[in-house]
Symmetry: C2
Subunit: 181 residues, 2 copies
């Protein structure tokens, strides 16, 4: 029996997500038996960003307007400079994020993804990390920002950049395995 | 005699600047007789962003490591989602911005440009505007954020997006004309 059989995870993203920060957690979750939905503000496909330019597409499974937090055990928010800046403009996407915190469900975010956590108003007094360019924004929002490859604060898992993906994925999978115990 | 003859302006940017937000202020300033330097972290050329993709290049005149605030009467910081996120990673660029505030020289910034003002620590109790996606970051940094096409607070001029460029440029040029009086 796979570790995460029966676990369902939403990855919230839009065009401009850092390719590895969506595809690698998705692969790691699925290999461990979890079901993953790509949730986005738009129908159809969203486009990855890689090495400073547009890259491959991925199909959107659920439009954020129709996404229901009750269907998911956890949320993953990838980075990319463009992705969370666009996501945070969408009220439904922001509400979707805050609803995971309201229900104390697990949330994992990496790189620029935590901009969405600022917008959702959930970082005050939280220990977390992010890509270093948004460190000041997170500190101004009341977060306890630290420079570590992965930070776990209750239901929140954060990492800094694509180099941290292995430990980010491992930590997320361990955390979700605990739900099942 | 042109209005801004003898006035020298630095435009601080890097690849990913919103094309119109650099080229239009540059043109308006030069048409009024000002001299404009493109100041960037890197030598050579930097690349514009337009309609969601990479666009044309512009030559860098001065590398930020060698840029001296004393050579300039004013600073312009264009937006683009990518541009200020990259600029704020560069300590010399951030110091260059704060030095204009130290000397109470004029600074004009539009769209995502004000992310550099957060990084430079100069927005507390300032009335300003920006692209709406970074409103929360500016408020968390202590700014009095308002939704107006142009906001003037002492030496700081800010606008929201490319649609505001006409009034942004006009306000900047009036402000710089006053220096000469």
């Amino acid at each position: 029996m796979k570790k995460l059989k029966g676990i369902k995870v939403a990855i919230l993203a839009t065009s401009g997500f850092e390719e590895s920060e969506l595809f690698e957690p998705k692969k790691a979750l699925e290999e461990n038996g979890a079901e993953v939905d790509i949730v986005a503000p738009e129908e159809g496909k969203i486009k990855a960003w890689k090495h400073g330019d547009w890259s491959r597409d991925i199909d959107v499974n659920v439009v954020v307007d129709n996404a229901d937090v009750n269907n998911y055990d956890a949320l993953v928010i990838p980075g990319g400079v463009i992705n969370p800046d666009k996501l945070r403009r969408n009220e439904k996407a922001v509400k979707f994020v805050s609803s995971f915190f309201d229900l104390k469900k697990n949330v994992a975010s990496i790189c620029h993804g935590p901009q969405m956590l600022i917008e959702a108003g959930v970082v005050k007094d939280r220990k977390l990390t992010s890509f270093f360019s948004i460190k000041k924004d997170l500190k101004n929002a009341g977060a306890n920002w630290v420079d570590e490859e992965v930070v776990v604060d209750n239901n929140l898992i954060t990492s800094r950049n694509p180099d941290d993906l292995d430990v980010f994925n491992k930590t997320l999978i361990e955390k979700l395995s605990d739900i099942k115990k």
